[in-house]
Subunit: 200 residues, 2 copies
């Protein structure tokens, strides 16, 4: 058994409560005071559990990936038709971005947009850019697979197309934060899918 006084809160649950604050306000915008209150824990307890604001943010980012991205990626790879997979991926992304049970938009996009301030640690910026690149890579490999399956024109460039879809989704996050409603964003998805290079 562990010695000493046992912790009175679950660090995982605290992280779940901290996440939406970072999601809404970004790294700088979220104060440690606010984070502690959201977690229902005193500030020193939060520091004891996670070290500092930077480490807490990185933990929240990982939590975000596991709880709000992973299942969408799984569905992207489970759907056999490449075009439908991409379409549904963007549609579920819109659903997430406009889900009122948590902040609008994407934590990664919000974080990236505010990451070149001097107050944002380099590790945070690197992690965010890494998440962005990871998303592009996941999409690219799915598009390459669709190309092998004859669902995407052989002349298409999966990397360029992945960068395109990734950019559209970043834009969707911005629009969601600006207050666009779900239907408007789903309409954007329809327009974005017009660019899909079909097999002739």
């Amino acid at each position: 058994m562990v010695r000493g006084r046992p912790r009175e809160f679950d660090a995982e649950i605290a992280l779940d409560r901290v996440l939406p604050v970072f999601w809404r306000d970004g790294f700088e915008g979220a104060s440690v005071q606010e984070l502690a209150e959201a977690a229902g824990v005193s500030k020193p307890s939060l520091y004891a559990a996670y070290g500092n604001k930077e480490a807490l943010y990185l933990a929240a980012l990982k939590r975000y990936a596991d709880a709000h991205i992973a299942d969408r990626v799984a569905r992207l790879e489970a759907e056999p038709d490449g075009r439908e997979a991409m379409r549904q991926f963007m549609r579920t992304t819109v659903a997430t971005y406009t889900d009122r049970s948590h902040p609008s938009g994407c934590l990664v996009v919000t974080g990236t947009t505010t990451s070149d301030s001097a107050a944002v640690p380099e590790a945070v910026r690197n992690a965010l850019c890494g998440s962005m690149r990871a998303a592009a890579t996941v999409i690219e490999s799915r598009l390459a697979r669709a190309q092998r399956d004859g669902q995407l024109s052989a002349s298409a460039d999966p990397a360029a197309l992945a960068a395109y879809f990734n950019t559209v989704m970043a834009g969707l996050s911005v629009q969601a934060k600006a207050g666009a409603d779900r239907e408007a964003l789903l309409s954007v998805v329809d327009e974005a899918m017009r660019g899909w290079p079909t097999v002739l």
Copy 2:
């Protein structure tokens, strides 16, 4: 003649020097101290000239629109071919977003992404959302004109298409801030133009 001691600095020039700070760091991220140093003016002088941080930001936003958006819009409307106009609009936008002589990305997109923090005044948020809507409106009317000119399919929805292009450009700003280079973003523009509904 005006009585009293004359101002020793040009408020317009000061605004030009303040602009890139807001551009890079957003409303919250930019400190008044930093803004004053960038303007080459003491903090009370800046307050005497503009009132407070909120008014200074709104002035900088207007300056941004005049100096970094207006000419692109003018070219959008000057180019007779609708499709080429839209394409060049996005290409010059990419050029602006990746111009190393000032911060990357778009001040409006950066501002919007960080605007639902409590520290951002409602007037600032409203002005940013207004700029976003204005951009969509400009694009929509250009698309409607292209449709009248027979350069865009009659079945196309100019409003939906404008929302789409606006979203792509917001995404381009995010990517530019994340460090994407100009060629990568121009490639995204090429992909985005594939969605153009041509006349059959």
